[in-house]
Symmetry: C2
DNA sequence: TCAATATTAGGACAATTGACCTAATATTTC
DNA sequence: GAAATATTAGGTCAATTGTCCTAATATTGA
């Protein structure tokens, strides 16, 4: 029992540190300090740093999955569900301002490191993509549901990146407003292509 | 003279490595190997790794500046100039696929490292932002020129991030096409707000 | 209760990091 | 050509990295 608690705490703290400082910049010593355990003790729970990364990704996958499930239940329409997705930008506004999007930044770092866990981390993106696609399909957008999902993912990534770079609160609210108008226009269900950026 | 050549070569190779591997993941030893000089020799040209980073940023600022000047001369209309900007995604397609956008990824990394050079690196974004804003102003978009510039920057960042994550060639061409239609619609010069994402 | 297992602390390890030093060698300048 | 300067190579330095080991302590299960 206490094993599980310690192991979970390691993963939770590693999750935070990987997000705030990046994977490579976070050391065992740091995680051990935050968790309050001895360094050598680590290898009883994880056999390498990459193992911790894998566990962190599994944790993030589970959290994302349950978040998407919640959105599914909380909202009665696909439009409201899509809105929930974009509104993470507001819910996590302060964190994104400081550290960017946890999904995008981890994927980017692992890509540069040419890290074997890159594909694993990418599954978080896939989770969002699939979920968003389903919502657009429910809106009758069968032909371009996946393209719209990717479009929205790219939108959120771009906004998060620039928000973290410029720290401009006005900007993020502008973009959310623009998204709202876009969402209302798509809601009509006419299969007209959504042209603009 | 030979000092300048060596110094420039260090900066150029560091520029490449910082882009491909990230700043922190790149070591002196690696740069020295690529340049073909002794490690200890470094500190005659730069007094610290942060100094090299500053020089790399200065190089990127200069290159960006001259690229924007070129676009200014090569194109006769603001619309064509804006198109040149988005078309970097195609010109540098393979690099972006592997390493993401050099501007966005560096800024993101320096943010997580809480690195003092973050503001300096951000000036590259400012360069693009100012240049794009001027193009939109010339299109008569005086009221929302800056917002459109930020919108376009966010678009390019989002596309680059997702392209690097999913490596999907179809996606990037879809987004470029969507941008083209958006650009044509904005060209009309009617001050109607550009709603969609 | 007692043996088996799980968990811990603390230290050692080789390798790598950025930083710095010195002495030798080129190059420039007069 | 000689003095001054610029540039180089090679080595050292302490600190940190991820990894691993061992011995002591908790916990569990029969």
């Amino acid at each position: 029992m206490s094993k599980k608690i310690t192991k979970d705490r390691i993963v939770e703290e590693a999750d935070k540190l990987f997000y705030q400082q990046g994977f490579e910049h976070t050391s065992f010593a740091q995680i051990a300090d935050v968790v309050g355990i001895s360094r050598g003790n680590f290898y009883h729970h994880f056999k390498s740093k990459d193992d911790i990364l894998d566990a962190v990704i599994v944790l993030r996958l589970a959290r994302t999955h349950s978040m998407l499930d919640d959105w599914e239940l909380e909202n009665s329409t696909p439009t409201d569900r899509i809105r929930s997705f974009v509104h993470i930008l507001l819910v996590n506004q302060n964190k994104i301002k400081r550290y960017g999007c946890p999904v995008g930044t981890l994927t980017t770092e692992l890509t540069k490191l040419n890290h074997p866990a890159k594909k694993h981390a990418n599954e978080i993106f896939v989770l969002f993509r699939t979920w968003l696609r389903r919502q657009f399909e429910r809106l009758g957008r069968d032909d371009d549901a996946d393209a719209l999902a990717m479009q929205l993912l790219a939108f959120s990534q771009g906004v998060a990146t620039l928000y973290s770079a410029f720290q401009d609160d006005q900007f993020i609210h502008n973009e959310i407003s623009r998204f709202e108008r876009w969402l209302m226009s798509i809601k009509g269900g006419t299969n007209t292509p959504v042209e603009a950026i």
